[in-house]
Symmetry: C3
Subunit: 298 residues, 3 copies
Amino acid sequence: MQRVELKESVSYSRIIHGMWRLGDWNLTPQETLAFIESCLEKGITTFDHADIYGGYTCEGLFGNALELKPSLRDQMEIVTKTGIKLTGDFNKGQKLNHYDTTKDHIISQVERSLQELKTDYIDTLLIHRPDPLMNPDEVAEAFTSLKESGKVKTFGVSNHLPSQQRLLQSRLPFSLVTNQLELSPMELKHFEDGSVDLCYENNMPLMAWSPLAGGRLFSEDRYADLRSKLAELQEKYETSGIDVIVYAWLLKHPATIMPIVGSGKIDRVQAAVDALDVALTREEWFEVLKAARGRDVD
Amino acid sequence: MQRVELKESVSYSRIIHGMWRLGDWNLTPQETLAFIESCLEKGITTFDHADIYGGYTCEGLFGNALELKPSLRDQMEIVTKTGIKLTGDFNKGQKLNHYDTTKDHIISQVERSLQELKTDYIDTLLIHRPDPLMNPDEVAEAFTSLKESGKVKTFGVSNHLPSQQRLLQSRLPFSLVTNQLELSPMELKHFEDGSVDLCYENNMPLMAWSPLAGGRLFSEDRYADLRSKLAELQEKYETSGIDVIVYAWLLKHPATIMPIVGSGKIDRVQAAVDALDVALTREEWFEVLKAARGRDVD
Amino acid sequence: MQRVELKESVSYSRIIHGMWRLGDWNLTPQETLAFIESCLEKGITTFDHADIYGGYTCEGLFGNALELKPSLRDQMEIVTKTGIKLTGDFNKGQKLNHYDTTKDHIISQVERSLQELKTDYIDTLLIHRPDPLMNPDEVAEAFTSLKESGKVKTFGVSNHLPSQQRLLQSRLPFSLVTNQLELSPMELKHFEDGSVDLCYENNMPLMAWSPLAGGRLFSEDRYADLRSKLAELQEKYETSGIDVIVYAWLLKHPATIMPIVGSGKIDRVQAAVDALDVALTREEWFEVLKAARGRDVD
């Protein structure tokens, strides 16, 4: 599979697997291990996590599987995130969900992620959401400390607008490596608000979360025209589903967008891998855009 | 009181008093002097003016008080603004309010401000509003001339968006020191449009005008939920009013926000000073944000 | 006529003629030549084209006239654009209008423009619309190749937002010289979204397309108040129409805005030239702005 080389010392697989629903799949550690190995066999070596996924449980479920075969660690890249604090048992007494990008919280959550994931390093740590109370100097201190200790190799952001990304970058002695954004034909705003442009300008590949709009692509009426167009292309390219076309649409963008596949069904994971062989024409890319927006280009 | 050091040669008190309603208080010069001295005793040494406040009268009312005790000048910082031209007696024959950032207008208004304020220097001059006809080279000439003559020590902007601030800064041989924006739980837009981010990136502290939304916080139905939350925190922190909590909310932001208190009642000025001792928790800050926006964080 | 000097080796006339409707005027080559010469006599030496104007026909109609008197080429500047692909006979089999900023398309369209225009160089080539699939490295290769071969002297963009302009500029070894935007009292958005600010910051003069809103200024009810204000100023300045006032309004902006006049009637072209002698006051400029926006300045 195609690799995406970062400016820093890490590379990702072009297709990333997202583990945010791992807790819903009710797998034993052995079954999870088998799933991970299926991904690796397909060349998907990059796994996306966050401390909060599954109510703070998904990292641990992944780690329990990894513990069964620790040698796999060197064959994969682990991305995780911190910066959101959820109410619930993990944060007893907390009354509302909020953000926390203090140095203490970042470092203690990374320590926990390492323990849960049963690993001694994270390939990339992302700030999960732009925190209106972020002190970028404090984040820089946390990042630098984690980098120097070898606990985290590279750093990025998620859901950050250009001004937020610039603010954090201004305080860091090294480059942010990625911005993980919601990007799909169903969510076009970051193609238009400068977020994709800034990453491309800085040679930062992007990660696309919810490339299928969390499954709403398949069910919502407002996407009927889009589904028709995708089905037409599915037929032309003889793919296993319209999801393959959506992934191919993201892959065609020259800024280097890495779709995050969140499915626990290995055939839907395969759909993203299949997309690497579907070279949409420029006209087809715009046909999808038109079907998604409901209007021609200007 | 905490001081805010600028990159240039000036420092402000963390709480600023705003004189835009001085003309409404019907004070004698002696009473105005007493009010100013009360502020200074509290550590509030920075006073915010504009040429146009009170229909071009407030600077003069302040100056009449200062004239009674000129030694106070060295104990305070005076901020004033220019760039708006109002209809009325001061500009006879003018048919509509508009902006004017020509070199002549900036310089002649500063000369007038010095006369009215009975002082020979301004600590910081702000461009009051972004002028669509601004010629930044001409503003730079005016600023440079005023700086070299010692009439103005430092320069900033007010109500400027990032692109407007960048345009002016690009022509200046020194750094803008602040952007005075409407910032409060009732006016969140500049936290989201990059204005606060850019100032923070450039280490420019911000001034917050109308931190209480011009009093509408206390009266408008749409702020009922916000008032409830503020009242809850007022009770916890045993403060004299919900205004203290609003000031504390602004003070907690790491970008360094200086609330401008516009009240002529010394106990409401005290409320802002009291806020310096209220350390809201991060969770409480987000509770206020949620009450203000009517929704959780993402 | 006033000249606009670019950072690169080209200068424009302050008023530009736009040839997008040349095909509608049903002129013989001799008549077109006469029209061009009338423009040149007025000092309008810069002519704005695009490959697609008139369904890919306008460049050829202009070239047929120029061929009658090739010596005129040295007395004029030709601006053209590429990047849009329209359906129709020119692109048989194409199903929808879309953008194309690939190296191949840019270069082959320039070759065609040179042939159609009967010239061996273009003064300025613009990317017509921001292409969401633009690969800026590929555009840079195309531009560099065209510059080195002498086929195109300078490069710019049209309808690009700041982030899009920055992305392309980041890959170019020379400066973009202009951004051609819709700018008029009827279309104010680019004065407020940072597009004009960024060009001004970078000392890039702007070209204004549709300065009369494609004629809708004269017909649409929503512009009634604006027309009244313009008529008042027309009377004061004794101009031939309200269009003169609109051009003067654009010319007063300090960022250097070059109105593109698209009329085939030489008296309406003269209107733009006349505007160079109308110096609106600052107050009048704001009166027009107020009439256009329906509100005072803040």
